[in-house]
């Protein structure tokens, strides 16, 4: 499971890269509490509207299909591969 560390908001979830349902945008999302971050440098999370978690860029859901966790290749293409705390090849 690829992730960027433990979510500081809930102390439990993994911060993972999520593709919105339009598959055009990626956001960092806690897989436990849905806290969201635009960049890894952001410390304060954003909380998107429940239950659909609309993408701030296009409004497509970050929960409903075809939204999904980003692949390792996508994370690397975005230049965040070195920031991963854990990755499974």
């Amino acid at each position: 499971m690829e992730h960027f560390g433990i979510c500081a908001a809930c102390g439990q979830g993994a911060k993972r890269l999520r593709a919105c349902a339009s598959e055009r945008h990626f956001l960092i999302l806690c897989d436990e509490c849905d806290a969201a971050w635009f960049t890894l440098e952001d410390e304060a999370p954003t909380y998107l509207k429940q239950p659909d978690l609309p993408c701030p860029a296009c409004g497509a859901s970050l929960v409903q299909p075809p939204s999904r966790w980003a692949t390792l290749d996508e994370i690397r293409q975005l230049g965040w591969g070195d920031d991963l705390v854990s990755k499974s090849e």
Partner: protein, 204 residues
């Protein structure tokens, strides 16, 4: 497939007048009360898939209303469908559709068992009924805002960390594996208003 369970009969309740019982029956008509089966599969009594539910007998509905008025732990963790797909617990926690699991009930129930692939993953003791009961107990403590509760607010989101004063689960996931699966005595409850976002046991 979900294992349907009947709500247990309770003893020691005072008798109430027939007219009051009839009024409660009328109020409860059409209300779904359910106790959950354990394995996460969800099947409504009407055959639809969805957050688990079954049609209650009138007596069970009456018990549900009785329990909601009470601050005792009788009936804690029972979930009543108050709107399509929206379930309220005895203590007033609300579980709605949402999360990648499709419903907050299922999101919380990920913590019914370990998830070794996650970096840290609190696991509740007991089965499904015990989990929703201990969450109601935690919420009841949290509402009293006493010393065993730490509260953090961020906009409409509130995170409660409640010291339950006893083991309520263990720390699993990768951290649990590395540390011998230590017992967890706290519950973290993440809410928006009374809507449960997530809840799990931990050692803060």
């Amino acid at each position: 497939m979900g294992r349907m369970r009947q709500a247990g009969h309770r003893s020691g309740r005072a008798r109430r007048p027939v007219w009051l019982t009839l009024a409660i029956i009328a109020l409860a008509a059409g209300t779904l009360v359910y106790r959950s089966g354990f394995d996460g599969a969800i099947e409504r009594a009407d055959g639809e898939r969805g957050p688990q539910a079954r049609n209650s007998s009138t007596q069970e509905a009456e018990q549900e209303l009785h329990g909601a008025e009470s601050e005792t732990n009788e009936g804690w963790g029972e979930l009543t469908e108050i709107a399509p797909g929206v379930f309220e617990s005895t203590a007033g926690l609300v579980y709605k559709p949402g999360s990648r699991e499709g419903h907050r009930i299922d999101h919380v129930l990920r913590h019914a068992e370990d998830a070794p692939e996650r970096p840290i993953h609190g696991v509740f003791d007991g089965g499904r009924d015990e989990i929703f009961a201990v969450l109601d107990e935690a919420w009841s403590i949290a509402r009293q805002r006493g010393p065993p509760v730490k509260i953090e607010r961020n906009g409409q989101r509130t995170t409660y960390t409640i010291d339950m004063g006893r083991r309520v689960g263990y720390v699993g996931g990768g951290a649990g594996l590395r540390n011998g699966y230590p017992a967890a005595s706290h519950i973290r409850l993440v809410l928006e208003d009374r809507d449960v976002i997530t809840a799990f046991p931990l050692n803060p």
